[in-house]
């Protein structure tokens, strides 16, 4: 039974059951055949296309769209997967409006780019639905490689290595693979258990052993991995979270947004997820947006996203911000949290307006909050790591770390940029480099 939307506190069942299904349905459903044909017709087949340059995995976008237009979506999918084995997820979660579609010449021409992301999904779904894995594993090389972390970087690296005939073991701290694809990312971007399906499909290449529940730095050290394997790839993401540094920060009702999202992603039934009536999300990146929007979708009455700098400095794209505001999220910028108040559990959070250099202005305001979600950046969890800088692993070239025989990619590295597609590119490129090193 639905609890009134007005009920205070962090409670489940704020909405009627039907509303949950509506709220968490596919944000952009797959294009049907007709829509795909119309969309594909828009592509000019540019020379040295800017969209390809703008794609971190450099998918040959004009080619795959032409393959869709000539009704060979499976061939289009192979074009995509040959550059980006997680092309299915990227089609769903890439901020295309700041990548390929921003570079599309039709964006220049008519402010209306070709629907590259949706066409990519049309093609990749076509192939994955037929359960065809389009790549074959090369003859075994006898080389063993350890991959730490089964997120986008680790999976992309493992697949490419397996394809080349190496034996790969993936060690994953959580109980199941997928990383942020499985535990992060808004639910409405990847419905129907797609993250899991994608991994099952990817593993069809063979030669990959998955070892969930093994945290690197715990029982298994990197040193041990290096001793046991011919090469090591670290794609361990950013396990730790930042702190506001305020009194009462550990008060009930305050938690990290990544944990909130992970819980939501693992829930079979969204109505069981408790959410506040007055939710305040602190942060300005994709995680902040995903937490804020999903709070609204779970039935929170008032959701405020507070970012400490100005709008144009927010990491979340305009497209994402528009999505949030269209769902009823209020975005406040230039606001630094300065105090948390409550009696046992949080009741109010106070902010002070500041400029882009975070200089306080003296102007303060308080917002009622029965739930505060912190999305203020993640950091590398402690481990016995190669050389780091600014809390991330330093790499050169295709993911080489300061330690010979250890490569790294994805969010845990300095080169990472919090994007699934970048993590895939780095994992893939490290795999190529590992292969070159081991086979030469």
């Amino acid at each position: 039974m639905a609890i009134s939307a007005l009920a205070s506190g962090i409670v489940p069942n704020r909405l009627a059951r039907r509303q949950y299904a509506d709220n968490f349905s596919d944000l952009h459903p797959r294009l049907n055949d007709h829509e795909a044909m119309v969309a594909a017709d828009q592509c000019y087949f540019c020379h040295d296309a800017p969209c390809v340059d703008a794609c971190p995995t450099e998918i040959d976008i004009p080619l795959f769209i032409r393959q869709i237009a000539t009704r060979t979506p499976e061939a289009a999918a192979k074009t995509i997967f040959s550059q980006n084995i997680l092309g299915g997820m990227c089609a769903r979660v890439c901020p295309t409006e700041t990548l390929c579609e921003q570079a599309c010449v039709r964006e220049v021409a008519e402010s209306k780019p070709v629907k590259i992301g949706q066409l990519q999904r049309y093609a990749t779904d076509a192939l994955m639905d037929s359960d065809i894995h389009p790549f074959n594993r090369a003859a075994s090389t006898g080389k063993k490689i350890a991959v730490a972390g089964a997120g986008p970087a680790g999976l992309a690296c493992a697949h490419r290595l397996a394809m080349k005939g190496h034996d790969v073991a993936i060690f994953e701290a959580r109980g199941k693979p997928g990383g942020l694809n499985e535990f992060g990312i808004a639910a409405y971007k990847t419905v129907d258990g797609f993250a899991k399906r994608e991994i099952d499909w990817l593993l069809q290449i063979g030669g990959i052993t998955l070892k969930p529940g093994v945290r690197i730095g715990g029982n298994l050290t990197i040193r041990q991995l290096k001793a046991d394997f011919d090469a090591v790839f670290l794609g361990i993401g950013l396990g730790g979270t930042g702190r506001l540094g305020l009194e009462n920060e550990d008060m009930a009702g305050i938690r990290d947004a990544v944990d909130f999202i992970a819980e939501l992603r693992q829930a079979g039934d969204f109505s069981t997820i408790p959410v506040g009536r007055d939710v305040v999300v602190v942060g300005g990146g994709m995680t902040a947006i995903d937490a804020a929007v999903q709070s609204r979708l779970l039935g929170a009455l008032n959701v405020t996203l507070a970012y400490r700098r100005s709008l144009d400095m927010m990491k979340a794209s305009r497209h994402e911000r528009d999505l949030a505001t269209s769902k009823g999220v209020r975005i406040i910028t230039g606001a630094v949290p300065v105090a948390i108040r409550g009696n046992g559990s949080v009741e109010e959070i106070e902010f002070e307006y500041s400029d882009d250099n975070l200089e306080p202005t003296g102007h303060k305001f308080a917002i009622p909050a029965d739930q505060v979600l912190k999305a203020i950046g993640q950091k590398l969890a402690d481990a016995d790591l190669p050389e780091t800088e600014n809390g991330k692993i330093k790499t050169t070239g295709a993911g080489r770390t300061s330690t010979e025989g250890i490569w790294a990619g994805g969010d845990c590295t300095l080169a990472g940029d919090d994007l699934t597609v970048t993590a895939v590119a780095e994992g893939r490129d490290a795999a190529e480099d590992i292969d070159r090193c081991l086979m030469s």
Partner: protein, 434 residues
Amino acid sequence: MADLTSNFIGIETPNPFWLASAPPTDKEYNVRRAFEAGWGGAVWKTLGEDGPPVVNVNGPRYGAIWGADRRLLGLNNIELITDRPLGINLKEMTRVKKDYPDRAIIASLMVPVNEDCWKEILLRVAETGCDGVELNFGCPHGMSERGMGSAVGQVPEYVGQVTEWCKKHTCLPVIVKLTPNITDIRKPAQAARDGGADAVSLINTINSITSVNLDSFAPEPAIDGKGAHGGYCGPAVKPIALNMVAELARTKSLQGLPISGIGGIGTWRDAAEFLALGAGNVQVCTAAMTYGFRIVKEMISGLSQYMDEKGFSSIDELVGRAVPNLSDWQNLNLNYVAKARINQELCIKCGRCYAACEDTSHQAITMSKNRIFGVDDGECVACNLCVNVCPVEGCITMEQLPPGSLDERTGKTVVAQYANWTQHPNNPGACAAE
């Protein structure tokens, strides 16, 4: 608003836009809707001999090719002449003409090559009050296998003979509709004129197969797994039709022979181009079949605006205006030098000009690291391919090099003097300028 009144071989209509003989004019119902929409005239779908009518296939009659966004570019049909009884068609024509006296009704006719057949049908159509007849010597499928349609149009002697018979047995104006499925369009046109035709209309449809089904391996449109060639029309045939119309318009022995232009006309611009190349009026079919009869409203408003802008007070001032500018290649000015120019404001940086020129032409388009596209005048031959592949109209243009400037490609100074191939030193048959 300009006066679009058209007088074609004495047939006056409120505008020069007629519907061609085809499915849209097969019935009273359709023709009434067409006239309500504003069409100036209709050539009724071709009538055959009295008696049991022809039959059509009961599967697909049309095949097509499409451009981007599935815009229909070319349509092909294997439909025959009207499959409705002659009597019914004649009654309907009579009624429509009576109700729309200011519009033209033309009877399209196709009967065997036999004087009595033509005489008989001409007498009957005259009773409808129609404004003229059009002899269908054009349809390239089905009826041609029976010795009619293009089987007649492909033999100038037959064209002349039947035209003579028709002129002998009717007082109505006789238009001869020509098939494009021949080598030299001037020959049947000349035969029609010699036979006494009041006008010719062209083009009829072109022999075609639109596609092949790659599963059943049948040409499309396929009937029970088999296909037969059909007649091709629509926007794709316009350039062919324009050329054939123009060929007749500039042929001395055909001077004064009125032409009704047909082939891929869908907008006022298409129509104006046919008129400028010598057509006295135009006939439309595929565009109406694609979008419905109301397209004529745009054709009327567009042509009217154009005439106002040009200061033309009647259609006749436009007719044939481009004919003097149609020449033979050998007369083209070889001293005219142009170069491609790219408008950087309009350029969307797709690079298609570069790919086209670099891969397939003259390597005259340059591309910088930040995707600025330019023209290397030292290589540009002004072929126009970049203009044609550019998705933005007006972005790339061909600009004439003024006389006195240097053509970097040839290293020669551009001269103002006209000079053509007949005078060129490389031409073994050149006559030296006096």
